[in-house]
């Protein structure tokens, strides 16, 4: 197969992967709807059960008091507003059919997605991450892959819709707006550091993306836990704010270590290619800024008064900076990392 044919297949595969991801996204969206409905029903059931209990209790009281004061009975009614255990949902929630479809479609999409990445690599005769289109293609595959890997250790499937949505946007922009034909590597990029530095950066981004999703969920959850009458019933089916925060933190930590490595590997490479290990190039600046933001996030988690939603916002700011670094800095800022190919 010629290079041109291979890159055409790469695009076919990428579009197919996107189609499968759309199905997965819809399934996850339906799962969220179902979660919302289940939570609503559970809450209603709990209210009813309590009402029954309260009635029985009130009845008993009434019996004992021999038709005593109605005020006492309504006192029993007040208890209805308290949230108490719901026996039917005490066991860990079983994954819904939609969630299972979403997960399997995501895995299938990833397989096709990886095929696309491989085709691009074969077409180019090198690792497929040397311009914006290729970063986008490979980076999104890594986000999905890392999401699936994280799910092997801990259930974060409720983030499925977020991961698929983010992934579809990024992959779509990469394929539609950033596409460039296979081009050879300029001398500065001809180094094994391209394989290591850029890949680890994409990997770190994947972890930051998942952490950002968890942090966003944490913020909502924390707000709900603060208020007496929490809306967005769907979040009843998610872990508590503390748990979400804990997960976000651990996943961001992995991202932070990878990012630190990216920074150092980039410096080592820059010394070889550009004659200095650090020169405050725009991309270097933003990589540094991101590193500092996440360092701040890690410190915030350990600071009294900052644990909780406050530190979660920093995680979101960090991921926003990552996205800014990938898009705006690559496209519009002048610098040595001008490899967008656009």
């Amino acid at each position: 197969m010629t290079s041109a044919e291979l890159s055409t297949y790469c695009l076919y595969a990428a579009y197919s992967a996107m189609a499968i991801y759309v199905i997965s996204f819809i399934a996850f969206a339906l799962d969220l709807a179902k979660r919302s409905g289940d939570a609503q029903m559970a809450a209603t059931a709990a209210l009813k059960a309590q009402a029954v209990q309260a009635k029985a209790r009130a009845g008993a009281v009434l019996e004992m008091a021999g038709g005593g004061s109605p005020a006492y009975g309504s006192g029993g009614g007040v208890a209805v507003l308290e949230r108490t255990d719901v026996p039917s949902l005490e066991a860990p929630r079983k994954s819904s059919k939609f969630e299972r479809i979403g997960m399997s479609m995501m895995a299938l999409g990833l397989v096709v997605h990886i095929v696309s990445v491989v085709f691009r690599g074969l077409a180019a005769g090198r690792v497929p991450w040397a311009n914006m289109f290729e970063f986008g293609l490979t980076g999104t595959a890594l986000i999905v892959a890392m999401f699936l890997v994280v799910n092997l250790f801990v259930n974060v499937k409720y983030l499925g819709a977020y991961v698929m949505g983010l992934n579809l946007i990024l992959l779509g922009v990469a394929v539609v707006n950033f596409y460039v034909a296979v081009s050879p590597l300029v001398p500065a990029l001809q180094s094994y550091w391209l394989v290591i530095h850029v890949f680890v950066a994409c990997l770190g981004t994947a972890f930051f993306a998942i952490a950002a999703g968890l942090s966003a969920a944490q913020i909502v959850q924390a707000r709900r836990e603060m208020s007496k009458n929490a809306g967005i019933k769907l979040f009843d089916t998610l872990p508590g704010a503390d748990r979400l925060e804990d997960l976000a933190y651990r996943i961001a930590l992995v991202g932070f270590v990878l990012w630190t490595f990216t920074l150092i590997a980039g410096a080592v490479w820059a010394e070889k290619a550009w004659g200095r290990y650090w020169g405050w190039d725009t991309k270097e600046v933003w990589t540094f800024i991101i590193w500092v933001i996440y360092a701040g996030y890690i410190h915030a988690r350990a600071t009294r008064g900052w644990r909780g939603a406050r530190s979660s916002y920093l995680s979101l700011v960090g991921f926003a900076a990552v996205m800014f670094n990938f898009s705006v800095v690559n496209l519009f800022f002048k610098g040595l990392h001008a490899y967008s190919g656009l």
């Binding site: 259930n155 872990p239 508590g240 503390d242 933003w286 410190h299 350990a302």
Partner: protein, 589 residues
Amino acid sequence: MTDASAQDRTDERADPLRPRDHIDYVAPASEASGSGSSGSGSGDGTITQPRLSFLGYVRFFWRQLTSMRTALFLLMLLAIAAIPGSLVPQQSADPNGVAQYKIDHAQLYPILNWFGLFNTYNTPWFSAVYLLLFISLIGCIIPRTKHHFDALRARPPKTPARLSRLAGFQSHPVRSEGVNGKAPVSADIAIAAARTQLRRAGYRTQVYGDSVSAERGYLRETGNLVFHMALLGVLITVGIGGSFGYTGNRVVVAGQSFSNNLGSYDSFNPGRWFTASQLAPYNIRVDKFVAKYETKIASSLGTPLDYTAYVTTQEQGQKEKKTTIKVNHPLDIGGTQVYVLGNGYAVDVTVRDGQGNVAFKDEVPFLPQDANLTSLGVIKVPDALPQQLGMIGFFYPSATPLSTGALTSNYPDTINPELTLDVYAGDLGLNDGVPKSVYTLNTDGLKPIAGTTSKAEEKPITLKPGETVKLPDGLGSVEFTGVKRFVSLDIHHDPSQVYVLIFAVLIVLGLLTGLFIPRRRVWVKAVSGPNGLSLEYAGLARGEDPTLERAVDDLAKRHLAMIGSPKQNTPPHPEPRPEKADDGSRLSQ
């Protein structure tokens, strides 16, 4: 957990020392009574003091500076302070960009320049942020390091009276009858076995009565400290290292040589403590420079594929060596790295003056202006008679006419080389003692002879290699002998580089151990009850430790197997804590 920590009160001395607003900070016993419970937000007991002596103020500010909140604030400030430097060009990275910015934004430039935004990362305000951050860091790590050294020598703390409230607690009865006719396991034997097992797992152990107390993960704090010290190390080595090093640049036309002495450099940036004797004497002759460009793929035609400079080097007292310099493969020679960071064309020109004498013969480097190497250069002929001559030329490696009639280059290699020259006559002003750039020609006061300007008598001179053109008014002739490649050699010497790398590696190692090694305590306790002997297991996290309960469970399983009383399923959990549910439902809360 509050109950557990209350029971665990006695043994926090071995914990890593924390700033007072750290989430794991526990007030020392002497202060604990005064500053209330550990969960009460601000731990700044000093604020409530009515009056502070001078020393008190110093201590107060020092405490503020070394607090978590200040570190966090300074980190955020550092991130924000770094942003403007990415929005406008920087003098160090992009001097031409700064010059262009000055022209494009004449109004804004002086304001931004006043703030030092074109040198953001050397400005006092930026330096102030990171220096404060590092002072805060030093103030934090020095006491912590001392504390950690003490903790490393301490014994694991006493076993708490009640293990049942601690993480992963489980209790198992020990079979009262012996296995295979052996005597039943006694408390002493069980504890001794637990101690051996824990030691093998890397715990530091101490037996207290019928229990063993074990602690591991001291490396977590070690890694944490190493990480922060290594950051400091990077800052110091970068700061100091730059002072001993130097960077320089020299344009060398293929066939010519470069000698490493001060006079040979086109530009030279010495560090503060540089002395000329540091320059290792060596020669580099550039024999040949080969650039390869993409020729097949239409969309990236002319993209450079490879730059190789073939050089012959000679160090003092050694034989000549032939080698190459490529983009990702600098040459190491005499303690310096030599890079080929730029290249272009040098035009070989011979100028004869009005009297027929050769007034000028040289290879003049023309500076590339675009990706297809349209190059701009200046030829100054001060020796020409009767008048001095100056020329501004464009060289097109692959000349092709635009619709306007002007030329451009559409490929970086020499497919159709062409040289155009605007010629001026008059006093070049080279004798008034003011240094002039070889790459610019001030045409004020010069008489245009040939060129695009309306005042010029003739059109610009156009030459192909080998051609000679007569100048008007009998001023002489210009011969374009040929074209050669030049390379721009960057010579760097940075003795601190290797130390920076060592510290960078320490940063990664420190980070990995400081973040992922759990610090934890576990206890195994033998309890004799009415139903015979039973063994209790529990753990306590010191810092982030997501796998603690699994670790305790593992310990129990192995220990029970070791003493011949395999673990029964469904360990009794006196109080299953809700947050343990790994996923899904929190409806129960």
